[in-house]
Amino acid sequence: MNFPILSSLILLPIVGALFLFFTKDKEGNNLTAKYVALFTTVVNFLISIYLWVSFDQSTSSFQFVEDRTWIEGFINYKVGVDGISILFIILTTFITPLCIISVNNSVKNRLRDFLIAILIMESFMIGVFCALDLVVFYLFFEAGLIPMFLIIGIWGGARRVYSAFKFFLYTLLGSVLMLVAIISIYWITGTTDVVQLYEIGIDVKYQNLLWLAFFSSFAVKTPMWPVHTWLPDAHVEAPTAGSVLLAAILLKMAGYGFIRFSLGLFPVASEVFTPLIYTLSVIAIIFTSLIALMQEDMKKLIAYSSVAHMGFVTLGIFTLQQQGIEGSIIQMISHGLVSAALFLTVGVVYDRMHSRLISTYGGLVSVIPKYSILFMLFALASLGLPGTSGFIGEFLILMGAFKDNFLVAVIASIGVILGAAYILWLYKRVVFGKLVNEDLKKMIDLNRSEYFILSCLAVPILFFGFYPDPLINTIEVSVTDLINTHNTNLASK
């Protein structure tokens, strides 16, 4: 038996959280707690890098698999990674330490509890991405609601209670149907083990309903139009670190779920419901881009842009083309980095001015130039400028879409233009223009930790923009295999 590296990835943050739990909570700036949390997450990041290094890119089968009996004769605790999930694990372990560094100013009270919540959140998120049993997946998927509810509710802004409730109840409502589907799958096939289910396949006559049940959960989490309304609320009210986690990782759970479960388990139904996904994705891209244009709150604007970007992701996944799915995965990783960066840049000015309204700002470029440059980079990455990771994802998705459905691809391309419009307009209104607000003159530029965080995010955005091969090599075999199995499944039924 090899060293259980995935379980240690899942458990380590919990151990860190336990350690913090037994330390004394000091008022004010609790540096010790922060260092403990930071240390835990950095170690976790290093482990995940080791995981990536020792990951065998030439096979699509699951690696580092751990399989233990959990409930006798029913559920096994089974975890493992393939090319698709490993990137999300690294994204999670990469973003979390940055979140912890960023809590300097945004979290004033109960810092220790906040860090505990973040650490527990991290371990649940990693669990989601490496679970290979439907019940284990559901457990991690749902359990994440608890810390996120508290993060929004305790440390959030003015309307935090409303947002926290909306977030929790929306997601729970979506998920309960998935639970029905999971138990039904158990009774239909006799197992909830994903690997076995890939082999056996699920009878076609059940697939449509099961697909819809999974869809209800993933659509809320993605979020897809028209069930996206919880996201702007949650984002706006959550503290910066919470928004970052939400945008960068939580939303990816659904995209990952679509690839791993909807495509993998229900090939026939996925084919049947592709038009539905296309329609909803295109609406999401166009409609929420237009909404984003009208926003006066920076965080809300970025939240709506997340919905639009996730629209691209769902579109790409259901093109069922090699490029489309690879593009979706890269888009998710890229969006994880870019949206995290954008929320952090908003957090930077919010910490100084305590306003998220675009109208408060203007002419920042002459006051805080370093900030403006980095913000520019992230804005360009968000609109998908060539040379940033955003471009690779969007380009591959559109390529896949053109292969599959010309009309959808054309409409989605309009979305790219709109995406450029709202983010550039945001940038123009915040950074350029006349410096009207006198208070802005007192703003100080990025401090060292902010500079560090934003550079940490800028490096991979640029690196993968110019050289996406490490990402594509990791996912390629798994995606090819996924599509092949999908096609054979379709052919045989």
């Binding site: 009996t69 006798e72 509710g153 209670v161 109840l169 729970l172 409502l173 039904s184 009774w187």
Partner: protein
């Protein structure tokens, strides 16, 4: 000669009750010693059960009017443990209200005795006797804080409505007896066939009476008032122990004498279940008193246990028993928290009294947070697994409608649990509460919370114990 060892627990507990009564009469200031002795009696009874009857698969006594099987042993143990913990954590509360008397443990013991008789009954008359014994003790317990208007009101309400339901139950029993010619469950089971319409009346009357005892909708009206008015420790007793006993009897009735009439009762149980789940979830939203809220939430939880019973399968019965066991632990934990809300000899039981609890009492509110999420059925806490097993059993029988309604009502129910969490964590803090709680109270809260939190590590153990129960 009958093997009396099998009903040794009942015999022992009856003797203890008589002894304690005599002791109370002849000795002054004997409340403390009666409390301790009654705890001791419960412990010994539990040990006797584990030693004598736990391994028995199925034995009958006294012309098959009493049955000892794995279900009865397990349910008796749950009842006894519940009773034990209720007794140990009540003393501070009772002392505060100056009702720390010998009658309290004796009444608790008598009702436990009644429940044990109910659990083991295999005969209509034995069942009714046990039922009345526990009910009479419970009426008195409800009014135990007799100087308070609400407590007396609760007792009276409980008495009137419970007597009515007992009447219905007895009428149902007489109808069943009339058609089958016997009071013995096994014989009834062989004699009954579904062609007699009047027999359906008998079953309905019995089910109504039982539904009343476990407060399933639409026979739940008494529960909120009684729960609110009774002393908190008695409310705790009400929410767990009689429910366990009544559920066992429910299982016994449905799956022994009425097994052949499944078409007649299945729809009734499904209806009771759906109504309880939905009503329990919706009605709890507007409550301001925690005890009333718990009453509605317990109605909802009864709905889930009934969903397991409606499946007419061994898995369903087992999942209901798992559900009720986890529910007992969660309620114990919840009430331990409630009993900790004390400031200078005054207990607080409004939801607003929890406001900002997390700032003054971080550990207590963390426990409460876990308990509430568990009650709402959020993984990875124990409450999730309870619901999970239920829905697993329900879906095995392809009862999709029941499962979906049940799961949707968990979402509604999550709302009011979240509301409490919101008040604890997001709102402004109030004055601190006293922290000098009795050791037992802390113990029961800690242990039950840890059980709830860490249940997911060893979920198989409980399943294993319960899987020995095969009724059908």
């Amino acid at each position: 000669m009958e093997n009396l060892n099998l009903i040794l627990p009942e015999i022992f507990i009856s003797l203890s009750i008589m002894f304690l009564l005599i002791l109370g009469v002849f000795k002054n200031d004997s409340s403390k010693i009666t409390f301790n002795l009654s705890l001791f009696a419960i412990l010994i009874t539990t040990i006797i059960i584990i030693n004598e009857t736990f391994s028995v698969t199925r034995e009958t006594l006294f012309n098959e009017s009493v049955v000892i099987d794995s279900m009865s042993s397990l349910m008796k143990i749950i009842t006894l443990i519940g009773g034990f913990l209720v007794l140990v954590i009540s003393s501070t509360y009772l002392k505060t209200f100056k009702i720390y008397n010998i009658e309290y443990p004796v009444l608790v013991l008598s009702s436990i005795l009644g429940m044990m008789v109910m659990i083991s009954s295999n005969d209509l008359i034995v069942f009714y006797m046990g039922l009345e014994l526990q009910s009479l003790a419970l009426y008195v317990l409800a009014t135990y804080n007799r100087d308070q208007l609400k407590s007396s009101e609760a007792g009276l309400k409980y008495f009137v409505l419970s007597a009515l339901s007992s009447g219905l139950l007895l009428y149902g029993c007489s109808l069943v007896y009339g058609f089958s010619g016997s009071t013995n469950f096994d014989i009834i089971s062989n004699q009954l066939n579904s062609e007699e319409y009047v027999l359906t009346f008998g079953i309905v009357f019995i089910l109504v009476g039982l539904a009343f005892k476990i407060s399933a909708v639409p026979f739940h009206m008494w529960a909120p008032d009684v729960y609110e008015g009774s002393p908190t420790t008695v409310t705790l007793f009400f929410t767990i122990v009689p429910k366990v006993a009544a559920l066992t009897v429910f299982i016994r009735f449905l799956y022994v004498p009425f097994l052949n009439l499944i078409d007649q009762w299945q729809m009734i149980i499904v209806f009771l279940s759906i109504a309880s789940m939905v009503f329990g979830a919706v009605a709890a939203i507007g409550q301001t008193n925690i005890k009333r809220l718990i009453a509605y939430s317990s109605i909802g939880h009864v709905g889930y246990t009934l969903a397991g019973l409606a499946t007419a399968s061994n898995e369903g019965i087992q999942s209901s028993i798992i559900y009720i066991s986890i529910y007992v632990v969660m309620n114990l934990a919840l009430f331990s928290c409630l009993l900790m809300l004390r400031r200078k000899d005054q207990y607080y039981e409004d939801i607003d009294d929890l406001s900002g609890l997390s700032k003054n009492h971080p550990l207590l509110s963390l426990c409460l947070l876990l308990i509430l999420f568990s009650l709402a059925g959020i993984p990875p806490l124990a409450g999730f697994f309870a619901k999970f097993y239920i829905f697993k059993a329900v879906l095995e029988q392809s009862m999709y409608f029941l499962a979906i309604i049940g799961l949707l009502s968990t979402v509604v129910a999550a709302f009011y649990y979240l509301r409490i969490i919101k008040i604890m964590y997001f709102d402004k803090e109030k004055d601190k509460y006293d922290t000098d709680h009795s050791l037992w109270l802390k113990f029961s809260l800690t242990v039950s919370t840890i059980l709830i939190l860490l249940y997911f590590i060893f979920p198989s153990q409980l399943v294993e114990v319960v899987s020995r129960i095969n009724i059908i």
